[in-house]
Amino acid sequence: MSMTPAYRHLTRLAALTALLLVRATSADVLPDDRADLFYSKYSGGGLDITSASVLVRKKFTENFAVEANYFVDKVSGASVDVLSNASVIKDERKQKSGTIEYMHDKTTYSLSYINSTERDYISNTTHASLSQAMFGDLTTLTLGWGRTRDAVGENNGTADKPIIAWLGHAESQSYNVGLSQILTKNLIGGVTLEVITDDGYLANPYRSVRYTDESAKGYSLASQVYPDTRTSTAIQTQAKYYLPWRAAVTGSYRYYHDTWNITGDTYELDYTHPLANIWILEGRLRYYKQGHASFYSDLLPFAGSQNFYARDQDLASAENTTIGAKVTYAFLPDGWKMFKRGTATLDISRINFHYLDFTDIKDYGLPKYQPGAEPLYHFHATVLQIYMSMFF
């Protein structure tokens, strides 16, 4: 069958477009070079955390890229269970990470190193992963392994004159496998499974357990005792659908269980809506619910009544809901000097935390409330993020 020159031209154009689209949707192309500046503020539950970060990603060849990230958290205040037993805390966390990526044919290899340092906590993580595109780039399989070594300390001094007592070490290993699957012209699905094992000093030294006694408050506080091992399994499924009016909706569910008998369910829904190729609006809802650890107790009947005991609010039965909104503005659509384009983003979230068996002993107690009968604790947190990304 003969083709007219104009038709041949259109055919070549369609083929070229298809080739570009394949590269854009498969794992056989590394992401663009970019530089990000990030600022955030978390306020809630007695804590204020201000964070800043810079990220640079650079491809040195078409199949080799390097990424570096520096992140600083400044913490002031303390959560309610820390405040029940200690003074207000000021702390700083610095995190440095580097990643190298190498792509060969349909396979991308990635190796990362992360160092996180606080005065009383040092964490070093090595992570390696492999992603393989297959079946005509409809499927991407990712395998990952990570190892983290932590040194855990306690500041027995003040914020200005710290006296750090190093309590022990913890080591964890993570294994994950992920599958991303193009299901239809408009639908992508994904499943991720991750198993994490911990061994070592796993307790939080700043939080305390409480037990009934004859003191004026009707209870006293004591150090927590955790098991020194933990293994967790989490599986997340998610789907993303392209709507007829150029918008996307994402749904996900995660099931979690560990050997401390914590079970968690997380549901998320996200809607993304671009406007005139300049704005991208995004709204999200998240609901999370967990059951308490087997050794968690809000109030022990007497000191040492269990082998392991904790009153850490993170291990209590709890639920939280998040509502969030994000707006991204795209600028420099035609590029400027070395930059191809840029985006600026404002993201704000409101999280409502409700505890189901963790009481507020900071604000309530005798004579109105007997130990264990204090009102349940709840708080709201606001998370603000502002960041700018330049692509080059």
Partner: protein, 75 residues
Amino acid sequence: MRRMRPALIVGALLLSSACSNIQPWVKPYERDRLADPIMSWNRDAISSAYLDHIRETREGSRGATGGAGGGCGCN
């Protein structure tokens, strides 16, 4: 194990031939919508890692979200 060997070989051959016969049911030229940036699983890596870190330090669950860095979150 010796009895299972033929079955394993046949199974592997069937699996490999099945894999090689799978044809992409969404053709490359049909993936323009999937290539739209709004269909990316994770558009902003720093922001996602930051939110994961906040959640992991306030919740008992962890993992299967793409990594959250290190640190204590003790306070």
